[in-house]
Assembly symmetry: C2
Homo-oligomer: 314 residues x 2
Amino acid sequence: MPRKMQPGSLSALACAVLLLCAASSRAASPPPPAAHRPPTAAEVLASSTAADWRALDPQNTLYLELASGRVVIELAPQFAPNHVANVLALSRGRYFDGLAIVRAQDNYVVQWGDPDNKRPVGTAHRTLPAEFERPLRGLSITRLPDPDTYAAEVGFVEDFPVAADPATGRAWLVHCYGMVGAGRDNDVDSGGGTELYVVIGQAPRHLDRNVTLLGRVLSGMERLSVMPRGTGPLGRYEHVEQYVPLTSMRVAADVPPAQRTNLEVLRTDTPAFAAYLEARRNRHEEWFKVPAGHVDVCNVPLPVRPVAAAATAK
Amino acid sequence: MPRKMQPGSLSALACAVLLLCAASSRAASPPPPAAHRPPTAAEVLASSTAADWRALDPQNTLYLELASGRVVIELAPQFAPNHVANVLALSRGRYFDGLAIVRAQDNYVVQWGDPDNKRPVGTAHRTLPAEFERPLRGLSITRLPDPDTYAAEVGFVEDFPVAADPATGRAWLVHCYGMVGAGRDNDVDSGGGTELYVVIGQAPRHLDRNVTLLGRVLSGMERLSVMPRGTGPLGRYEHVEQYVPLTSMRVAADVPPAQRTNLEVLRTDTPAFAAYLEARRNRHEEWFKVPAGHVDVCNVPLPVRPVAAAATAK
């Protein structure tokens, strides 16, 4: 008999964040929704069809390997094509292998790269022009109905959180938990992907349009978010022995199929996602008493689950 | 020569979150603001006066002691008087000593209490009626000018993030990073403070008005936020050996003065705080290129620093 296991309930939040749970909820066939209320997020996911999900493209997926296990990152070439191409080239050139996590700032970011800034980049670029935003035209955004503190419009493109300003015709990725970006110096064009960071706390939305975001972590966030916080300025580790080594960073397509982590994400342009979003805006699990009636673009855990075994045998 | 140490800059964010830095920025006397731009948050803090700060009341402060060190929690009796009184009584009755952190759910909460639910509560209460909200009347809120996704109004009362609805005349504490609440079962009146949780990720605002918040962590968050994530439902630890023991939880007033952590917080009803807030809404550090023009109530790190040595000798 569980007691005081709250806040929350065994629901979409756990399911989406804890991959394991999303998978098991599918297998366990939760009871159908009660007739007198809208479905919960878990119920929406349980009744979704195969067509509601999209498998990751291995050409567009990175595996960051740590001693503690794998972190899976999906890249966003529709927003940062040059940075994505460069990080793919850096990964294929084994640039990151043996480098380290050099920074962990509480409620902010974990960052990795070359502490000595000496490693050659091979055929990749050391720096690139910024890709902070792009034209809104050509994007199909699943918009949120709720006001956003920072932007005129927010929503999702594929499974990335985005903001847009119809007045200027511009759109950009948003700094939600788990988003991955390219560190830079004061010069806006000094990034490029040789140092990467991931958001580990409250969405630092003041970074939007100030730094190039290029992907998001789909699995393994808990390997990064628990990094001991650095005691130097900006959470930098002050001693070499504090660095956390990166075993490697690989493009999923270059990893033998049997060793891949095959994931799929809920498509954000489907009725299933619309129902999921509504279930996040107003929670109907028994534990909740006051539905929020709204949801922040960074408070929608985007559902991820392992691809069913049959589908991976290709 | 620092390079790619971004995102962020050596500024209020680091200063407020890393206590150490707030203290050192005060000591180091940063250069005065350039004439052509408003001050940065660090500059605002550097030019604040002693009267802009408020020392913590030791009768209203808890020390959660872990093997890794101390976590300092300020209580909010103006919002949850009964829960605060109960947690003080539980702490004084040594209820928490030797109990454990039993749950760590990524991007959500860390929670501690009695895994066996057997320990007597002494003169305290095991459960209490919910204190989810209170009358708006009688509160002096420093309001934020920016729209909030979830509430009609948001701002600060003392150094707590709050939301309010003038239409209903109600106000409540907000689930920002570091806020501390009382876990409960499905019954709204099943909490009371025997299990406590702290937010370690994106503000779970859907919990607002669904669970009693009673305080916030002012220092030592990095000891809680790095807890290994539990693999059970809701991030529960599945094996007893994963529990992280609590050495003790004590009321600061009951700790010998020489062993206290004497902190002060920037008063939120001062011109200094208004300037600090504006510096967070629009970042003017050299690294930033596009000022956000807005700030979320949960993206304002409330400044905390050690009390100057002279002031603690009382």
